[in-house]
């Protein structure tokens, strides 16, 4: 064969290969895959499914407006069942699927287990409801759009001391990492606002009957009860509190933000104030449109898990737009400097990739959550830096 001219079939093959590569490359890049991890079955199912609905809404919105950088977003959904040991295989699977970034609406346990996998694979990971501190400490590809427990606790202390102007407080802490960090934050900030801590009681997540606790609280006679917990503990708790004749104000965290809490506690829920992520009654389109769309799509009112997840997706989208690419490394760099208006308000990240935002306050009036104010103290609410 003469050295100068390559045989016809070789040229044909080369041409075919190039063509295939181009087409294949193009096909591979028609959508930007975003991984989505949540507990869709098991103990985390309520939050996981709410988060999924919100994420789907966000993706629809973004794709409806033309996608990002010319490509549509595609959500690749995996169920971690609320268990850490399920989270690791699905994390590996997502990496294999070629996701560009991952949003997690899963609990702390599974998210914490999955985080190292994504850090190793250098894929940005945004947690929307998991607040275990180790997640952001795992590495620089980790981000979180929900405030860690300590920050929420501090906001609550300011709420009690300055907004409600009450002093004598009893802590009712749920024995999970969530409850304990909330309590820690509250205790740390309480002296600054003149809040006096009478006593702290702890209860297990499976408790629904609080008789002994309530008997003791009645003896303490507080002005305010800071009740951490979820709707299925705080709901019965508050109902039983009022039945026992305790009239103290009830203050809670965003975990009470669902309509379910009001349904369970009924009349007893009136007047409960919480530090929330949802600014009910806000006129801003990012917030009001989401709340309406969510209620239309799911037939139930939005709560914190859904709203935070929606915000995670919109933040990710903003970063992808800013980076003008869907390379994971570029997304990560863009996320670090992104400041965007989302369904939970204006957010940005600090050095540790923890979220900086203000806390809207909500109150139960006439069987619904309503706006009560906002806590906006940047110094007080500064998230941890390490």
């Amino acid at each position: 064969m003469s050295p100068r001219s390559t045989p016809r079939f070789v040229r044909l093959a080369a041409g075919l290969l190039c063509g295939l590569a181009l087409v294949g490359g193009a096909l591979a890049q028609t959508t930007t895959k975003i991984g989505f991890q949540a507990g869709l079955t098991g103990p985390a199912a309520a939050d996981g499914n709410a988060g999924l609905a919100a994420a789907k809404l966000a993706v629809e919105q973004i794709n409806g407006a033309g996608g990002l950088n010319g490509k549509k977003l595609e959500l690749v959904v995996y169920d971690d069942q609320g268990k850490p040991e399920q989270a690791v295989p699905i994390a590996n699977r997502m990496v294999g699927d070629g996701v560009r970034a991952v949003v997690s609406a899963g609990f702390s346990g599974p998210s914490r287990a999955a985080a190292p996998v994504f850090q190793k694979a250098k894929i940005p990971y945004i947690a929307s409801i998991a607040f275990a501190p180790e997640i952001t400490r795992t590495g620089n590809y980790m981000f979180r759009v929900t405030s860690v427990g300590e920050v929420q606790g501090r906001a609550a202390a300011k709420l009690v001391g300055e907004v409600l102007r009450k002093k004598r407080t009893v802590l009712l802490t749920i024995k999970t990492d969530f409850g304990k960090t909330l309590a820690a934050g509250f205790k740390e900030a309480a002296p600054k606002f003149g809040v006096q801590l009478l006593k702290e009681y702890e209860y297990a997540p499976s408790d629904r009957q609080f008789g002994p606790l309530i008997a003791s609280i009645k003896a303490d006679n507080p002005e305010v009860i800071y009740a951490t917990g979820f709707y299925f503990t705080a709901g019965p708790l508050v109902a039983q509190l009022r039945s026992a004749g305790i009239t103290a104000d009830v203050v809670g965290a965003e975990s009470l933000s669902s309509q379910q809490y009001i349904d369970i506690a009924g009349q007893a829920a009136e007047g409960t104030v919480i530090t929330n992520v949802i600014d009910w009654g806000s006129q801003l389109p990012e917030i009001a449109d989401f709340l309406k769309a969510y209620e239309k799509a799911t037939n139930s009112k939005a709560e914190a898990a859904a709203t935070s997840t929606h915000a995670a997706v919109t933040t990710l989208a903003a970063a992808i737009r800013k980076a003008r690419s869907d390379e994971p490394e570029k997304i990560r760099a863009a996320l670090e400097t992104t400041e965007v208006m989302t369904a939970i308000g204006r957010i940005s990240f600090n050095k540790l990739h923890e979220v900086k935002k203000s806390f809207p306050l909500s109150i139960v009036r006439n069987g619904k959550w309503e706006r009560f104010g906002v806590i906006d103290d940047a110094a007080l609410l500064a998230p941890p830096e390490q």
């Binding site: 103990p43 040991e85 295989p89 590996n92 990496v95 294999g96 024995k175």
Partner: protein
């Protein structure tokens, strides 16, 4: 092999070791234990604490084994005092107590558990090391089954009173079964802690104990290959059932029930029977 496949392989191997360990206690020796996940947990927590204190795999593995074995001896002692019917509930109680203590103790991580457990020095070889351990566990169980120890275990399982009348010191052998089985579970716990990088109380609760017992029973009490088969099936099932994600647990519950209802001897003996029938059908 992709990262996903190796992580599944590791999980399967760990579950195989767990099933084999309970098989020693419940399958071979007939002591129905409903709290086995607690010993799994003892091994995992021991490893977590030691690994974070800087000890390497070569030290944490034997220590986890010892810790779980000792705890198993203690529970075994208690089990000696109670009747057959009570044993299941007593072991269940031991499981809950372990969880209760762990949950309230801040030194053991409390509700949060312990995380950021450092990786082993084996790095990428770790999954294959786990498989090696599973194979070793299988060989060990096979050896026990064939030995005089296994013979005594089976005698105790079949009829405790008759065994005693033969001169077999049943309490001692029951204790031995407990110690061996729980020590092996401790090994599984150690490997699990390294695999996941975190240990939390929810991974060692009653439902997990039931799962392990289900593996032993579905595979066939006492059968080693049965345990391996059942452990593999029950670990891979959630992966295969992904497409009916929502109904996964329902299917699992129904499956457990159906196997018990229709094939209570276990799947592996069924397979063996069918194979024998196919082979020697005409002759019979």
């Amino acid at each position: 092999m992709g990262a996903y496949e190796t992580s599944i392989l590791t999980l399967v191997a760990i579950n195989v070791i767990l099933a084999l360990s309970l098989n020693l206690i419940s399958g071979l020796c007939g002591q129905v234990s409903l709290g086995h996940a607690a010993f799994f947990g003892v091994g995992a927590y021991a490893t977590a604490l030691l690994a974070k204190a800087g000890f390497g795999l070569w030290l944490t593995l034997p220590l986890a084994l010892l810790a779980a074995g000792v705890f198993g001896l203690v529970v075994g002692f208690c089990s000696l005092r109670v009747r057959d019917d009570f044993l299941a509930i007593a072991t269940m109680a031991a499981g809950f107590l372990f969880l209760g203590v762990v949950r309230t103790s801040d030194a053991l991580g409390g509700e949060l558990g312990i995380s950021q457990i450092p990786e082993t020095a084996l790095g990428d070889f770790f999954p294959y090391f786990v498989v090696l351990c599973a194979v070793a566990a299988g060989l060990f169980c096979a050896w026990v089954k064939k030995s005089w120890l296994g013979y005594a275990f089976e005698a105790v399982a079949a009829d405790e009173i008759a065994a005693r009348s033969l001169g077999i010191d049943t309490p001692r052998f029951k204790l031995a079964a407990f110690a061996l089985g729980t020590a092996l579970a401790g090994v599984a716990g150690c490997l699990y802690a390294y695999y996941l990088g975190t240990v939390g109380a929810e991974a060692f609760g009653f439902p997990v104990s039931v799962m392990i017992l289900a593996m032993v029973v579905i595979g066939g009490m006492g059968s080693i290959w049965g345990c391996v088969l059942a452990a593999t099936l029950l670990t891979l099932a959630p992966e295969w059932f992904r497409f009916i994600n929502d109904y996964k647990l329902l299917v699992f519950g129904l499956l457990l029930f159906m196997v018990m209802r229709f094939v209570p001897g276990g799947l592996f003996p069924l397979v063996l029977r069918q194979a024998a029938r196919l082979r020697g059908g005409r002759a019979a």
